[in-house]
């Protein structure tokens, strides 16, 4: 894992590999927040990155079949941040899930499964690939 020291610009991408369990949510968040610090991004973008990472990692850790690792990479380029989350669980393409319709009332609102729509709406671009048994989701976020 490479996490930037506060007060100086990150020297490169954030790269970390974690065990495929729920603790990865908190560990990856702490690493992302430390890495983002020196970038001094707009607070809304930094918060959105934190939310997207949380949703991607928790989806793998909470819903997947056994996963031996979760790998997180983040890189920054001209105000945009690319988050890549990889795992060796069963194939799961978040792009295949239809977006829920906007709820008209409390009675008809979807209570669960809110994470994927949140990822899609917060990301400028979202890409899924699977190769050699590895899921790879890339989310690109930038200023509004």
């Amino acid at each position: 894992m490479s996490a930037a020291q506060p007060g100086r610009a990150p020297e490169g991408p954030l790269e970390l590999t974690l065990a495929g369990e729920i603790g990865a949510v908190e560990q990856s968040r702490d690493a992302l927040v430390a890495w983002l610090g020196p970038l001094a991004l707009d607070p809304q973008l930094a918060n959105r990155l934190e939310v997207v990472l949380e949703e991607l990692v928790s989806n793998i850790a909470r819903h997947g079949a056994p996963v031996s690792f979760i790998r997180v990479t983040a890189s920054h380029n001209e105000g945009e941040v690319a988050l890549i989350v990889e795992d060796d669980g069963p194939a799961f393409d978040p792009m295949e899930r239809p977006d829920p319709v906007r709820p008209k009332s409390l009675a008809t609102a979807q209570v669960g499964g809110l994470g994927l729509p949140l990822i899609k709406r917060l990301s400028r671009h979202l890409d899924y690939r699977r190769s050699d048994g590895i899921n790879r989701v890339e989310a690109l976020l930038g200023p509004r």
Binding site: V25, Q44, N47, R48, P103, L106, A109, V111, L114, L118
Partner: protein
């Protein structure tokens, strides 16, 4: 994550403090729902002390609002900081659960 429950006239007021993230909501959701729903009264939730919300936190708020609605009672949110409000708006939660700026407005929304 912590919660303070008080009564404001006939309304239950819940003050949430901390992060509504996956880890905390998994530990906290049942306690939150049990603090509001069995009272069978309208409820307002002060989000001013909430620094982060993700989908499980939104699910917790939706589940609570829906359970209260089955009793004919409303729930309203207020005081969210701009970052939390951004996520509530992105999920369209604010379309179906009233969101107010102040406690007084939230009370008016659930008692009106």
């Amino acid at each position: 994550m912590d919660i303070e429950i008080t009564d404001v006239d006939d309304v239950t007021k819940a003050v949430l403090m901390g992060r509504l993230d996956t880890t905390n909501v998994n530990r906290f959701e049942t306690r939150f729902i049990d603090s509001l729903v069995p009272r069978g009264r309208p409820a307002i939730v002060d989000l001013g002390g909430v620094s982060f919300v993700a989908s499980l936190g939104i699910r917790m708020l939706l589940s609570t609002a829906r359970a209260l609605s089955h009793q004919g009672k409303k729930l309203a949110l207020y005081g969210a900081n701009p970052l939390v409000a951004d996520i509530l708006e992105t999920t369209a939660l604010s379309d179906i659960i009233p969101v107010a700026a102040t406690e007084a407005e939230a009370i008016a929304l659930v008692t009106g």
